[in-house]
Amino acid sequence: MADVTLIVDGKKLTVPAGTLLIEACKSTGIEVPSFCYYPGLSLQGACRMCLVEVEKMPKLQTACTTPVAEGMVVTTESDKIKQARKSMLELLLANHPLDCPVCDAGGECELQDMTFKYGAAESKFMDMKNHRDEQQWSPVVYFDRPRCILCYRCIRVCGEGMDVWALGIQNRGSSAIIAPNKQDHLECEECGMCIDICPVGALTSGAYRYKTRPWEMKHTGTVCTHCADGCKTTLGARRADTGMQIVRGDNRDKSGINGDFLCVKGRYAFDFAHSDCRLKQPLVKRDGKLVPTTWEQAFELIASRFKQVLTTDGPAAIGIIGSNHTSNEENYLLQKFARLALGTNNIDHHRTADFPAFASALAGKAEATASMRDVHNAAAILLIGNNPTEQHPLLAWQIRTNVRLHHSKLYVVNSYPIKLRRQAASFAQIAPGSEGGFAQFIAGSDAAADSIVSPKLSREALAALRDALKQETSLVIIFGSELRGNDVKALVDFGLARSAKFICLGDYSNSRGAADMGLYPDMLPGYGPVASATTFHTDWLDEIPATSGMNLLQMMDAAKEGKLKALYVVGSNPIARYNIDPFALSKSFVIVQDMFLTETAKIADVVLPVANAYEKAGTVTSTCGDVQILKKAGDFAGVRTDFECIVRIAATMGYDVRKLVPFGGEGTRADMGQSRGAQSGEADRHAVWLSEHNLEPKMSPFDPSAMLDEIQRLVPAYDISRLSLLSGQDVHTQLVQITGATGLGHPELVLPANDTLFTSGTLGRFSATLNTVMERYSSPVEPEMVAGYDPAARQGP
């Protein structure tokens, strides 16, 4: 659009036509106060806080609804404006309880801030305030009417943003009130977006209410550890008996790929971290019972058993199962430990998507994977399979936002009428199980049509859809785990021919990282075959076993036959996930690293209590390939990181840990900054420079950044900007397969997690919040919630 020049407070500025005055002001650093204006949501003009003077207009104008015009002369600060703002606050406060000292929002309340700024604290109002009791609307949502300033942000974010439309406004005038969809309670997606967006303390969360005050928390920006979308979250922690307890999660600073979005899991299900079921001490099996022991004894026991098996049965008798939740550094370390220290390729993990087939289909093509950011801007999106609303809440949010704000064209192909069909320009309900066939069909196989057509989709419509897709030139293609092997190849070929970008949907917070870091029996990090000569073969200081190892199911079979003498399970619960008879492992020495006594841990011989992603540093890779940094937000007394456990086991076995973790180096001495004169709180410029260049001293083998050095150096596409990572940004990594790779992996081993919006694998079962939510909704929320109103009708000019 053409540009428009206007003058604001004497400053000349040029912005695109159609820009709202409030945004134009922001672009030049002028903050116009606002309550009801919220970028990305429909315009309201309701709070009247943003009133400014526009030359030639007799009345003050709302900057949030006025588009800029050529030659406009605007004043944002004058006595008249100040008085308008002050009186607006006085009016608001007339019916406001002013219970700031006990209000959850106290300290970060927009009303409080404005009152402070415009000095409306002295009240002229002396009559009774309207009162209503506080209500609990759902396991997570509480509402306190007197504090509500009716900015309608909650209604809009729930309706326009979430497409849930669970909040409404009832009555009129001073009786107007925000209302939940079921008269006295809510039935909704429990995302807490409404709470997060509320500028005051009217909507509060059950998780956080009255627990603490904002300034009493320590805030850490890290990454959600539930689904594979990688939402950035700021966790607020406060001291508790067991360590730093996380009490709040949000992304109010809108940093990261998710803006202010978090789903119920990211926002509230951090509570598994201080579940009463957390293991606090290592356990060993004595007389058939798991009893507490010391870390030293546990490591000794593990090391001696590993060594014993290695001498009597050889490395092939040991199996390792890695995790979808542990960090890239831990995953990398684990497979390196397996291959070098134990000498086995018997390593696998719970695969939730066919990443190897995807990597192989892309065949090293750069710029062919889409980041989560791309989903927000793509002109057209094709979604095959999966139900992102339940399984990839952020992805669903991105898609909805793109359709709403940028009119992206969405094609949904699914065997169920998933909720995202409501945003779709085209929804094709294909026959169950025909997602792969659909990929083949659009790639040109007409024969596949027979299996795809359904009572809801005619042959003609199917053909028309293919024709339409062929015309799309900037498509982002997103596919679920329904597509595997050759079907992925067909789809990728179709897309690459029209410069599409792809996203392959796996489940869990680091399933992509687990795959990229080589938790496979036949592939090294970067999907290179174990047998061929890769950089790892030349770089690593020990031999990589040349033959492929056993995959997860083969290991279980071997265990049953008594051939697998030891099994090392890190952050995984195969017994429950693969529905394995616990008896199958009775002949193996089982070591489990976990937070909880899971089904697998229960049958273990040694259990090591470990930290979760919120309690450690490292990096994770989202299903789109967006790498982000984990920072330690909370801690739990007694546990150690998986990283440390692996290193300790190796060390106790007498393995040279320098061969695993490139830490230290000649002459590295500890200088914590003192000699450079850095004071507490002051940025240590030396340290900043060193870490920016990956040169900061790695003082111990427990430092995951030492591992990251190697990952950056050796794993294809992981040579990403350290500075961006460190500053909390997401860095997209392509899915580049190591050269010389062949083979499609094993489609049959892919087992999707099938989580709903309210479940999160084993982890979710230990979240009190998710449990209460699940009690409430015995079945997942019915997606057939009808749109409340047409947001377009209230969009401004």
Binding site: Q44, K59, L91, D127
Partner: protein
């Protein structure tokens, strides 16, 4: 059924057929019915709008916007359908004129909607009538059905090749819905919350299509303008204020009622002459000349011609045509309280200044009127109203603030006389209660 009155000074245009049984279509046809629309068809859109402009007709809904000009804002080409919407929400306290038109001359409204549709190229017209006026909804529905039955509306009206539908739509109790953008929301089945403007309805209105919104009286004037010419209509009134207007005279008058008088007719004469003056034993304290939303005029301010410009100059507004005459036995504080209660009840609640301001105003006046007032209440009230003024999302906030400011400005002493728990010195129990 509303009662009719008459006075020799009346110039009957809109009320021409009142009392003549024109709700009956045959009777209406005898009284020149549906001639104007046929003429309008032959004139074509541009000529209709030219005639409307020449008539100096200004909106009778309250704001007095020139009707011809409003129509010229409607884009000629529009990808979305255009609409005409008759505003029959009539809820401004003191106003009861549209009611008479719907009751006595329903077809004139239909004809007005038709001509407006022809002028802007709309194919559908809606007549929105407040829910309380159920009997009028029924009359209008019957009249529309009669007109359909004769082929006056529907397909190919009067052989012109033009299709035109008209539907009657009932409200369900909300003053704010009379505000034009809230009216559209209500018609679309929503809460009566106004829309952000611009865009104005003439450009983006009902379901996104350009929409002409006019008051029922405005529309009922149109056929007469088409038949007799814009200039004729203009000459009935004063400069820039064409035609006549239905004035609803209420209060303790000898002959209250709805009179059709030329624009610019003297207010004092309206009270003392046309309406027979105050009932005996009472004298004049003030006049609210245009419905409860406008400023009060004191007895020495009422020698004024009742048109939009002159009343504005006198410090009030012509508004809706509801002339509320306040007698000396009415306490201004009590009156103010009733006005404040109204706006508090009718505020849609969308914006802060109106929602909170009307509530605050009402609470203060309730206390004040019952003897609990303190001196600073008076200034606080005025401060409050002044800070609502011009800052609300729609004009209802102004409508709530303006009268209160004027009461305090002009009758401050009456407020002061209420202080310190003194009983109201003005109020006399109405004789009705004595029985």
């Amino acid at each position: 059924m509303a009662y009719l009155v008459s006075h020799p000074d009346e110039v009957k245009v809109v009320s021409r057929r009142f009392g003549l049984g024109a709700a009956n279509l045959d009777r209406y046809l005898e009284l020149d019915g549906y001639k104007a629309v046929q003429k309008a068809i032959t004139m074509g859109p541009d000529a209709i709008i030219t005639e409307m402009k020449a008539s100096k007709l200004r909106g009778r809904g309250g704001a007095g916007f020139p009707t011809g000009m409003k129509r010229s804002f409607v884009p000629k080409q529009s990808p979305k359908p255009k609409y005409v919407l008759c505003n029959g929400d009539e809820s401004e306290p003191g106003t009861c004129k549209d009611r008479l038109i719907f009751e006595h001359d329903p077809h004139s409204v239909i004809e007005g909607v038709m001509i407006a549709s022809l002028a802007v190229g709309a194919k559908t017209g809606f007549i929105y009538i407040r829910g309380e006026y159920r009997y009028l909804v029924e009359i209008m529905e019957r009249s529309v059905a009669d007109a359909y039955a004769r082929g006056f509306i529907g397909k190919n009206i009067f052989g012109s090749g033009i299709d035109l539908d008209i539907f009657v739509h009932s409200g369900a109790g909300a003053y704010e819905v009379g505000e034009e953008s809230a009216l559209m929301e209500s018609l679309e089945g929503k809460r009566g919350v106004p829309r952000i403007r611009p865009p104005f309805p003439a450009v983006v209105g009902l379901w996104g299509g350009p929409t002409v919104i006019n008051n029922a009286e405005t529309l009922a004037s149109v056929p007469h303008i088409i038949l007799n010419g814009g200039e004729w209509f203009a000459n009935l009134g004063t400069p820039r204020n064409g035609g006549t207007r239905l004035f609803c005279m209420s209060g303790e008058l000898e002959r209250p009622g709805v009179y059709e008088l030329p624009m610019g007719y003297n207010l004092k004469k309206m009270i003392y002459d046309v309406s027979g003056g105050m009932i005996k034993g009472k004298s004049l304290k003030g006049v609210v000349p245009g419905g409860s939303s406008v400023q009060i005029l004191t007895p020495d301010e009422i020698d004024v011609g009742m048109d939009f410009d002159q009343v504005l100059k006198a410090g009030s507004m012509l508004g809706s045509g509801g002339v509320v005459v306040i007698d000396d036995q009415m306490c201004i504080v009590r009156f103010a309280l009733r006005v404040a209660r109204f706006y508090q009840h009718e505020s849609c609640g969308w914006c802060i200044p109106c929602r909170e301001g009307t509530d605050w105003m009402k609470k203060t006046l309730v206390r004040f009127h019952s003897g609990g007032g303190v001196a600073k209440d008076i200034d606080n009230l005025k401060y409050l109203a002044e800070n609502m003024l011009g800052r609300t999302f729609c004009p209802l906030g102004d409508a709530a603030a303006m009268p209160i400011i004027s009461y305090i400005q002009k009758f401050r002493k009456e407020f002061e006389d209420h202080l310190d728990g003194k009983p109201c010195p003005y109020e006399k129990v109405h004789e009705a209660a004595l029985v």
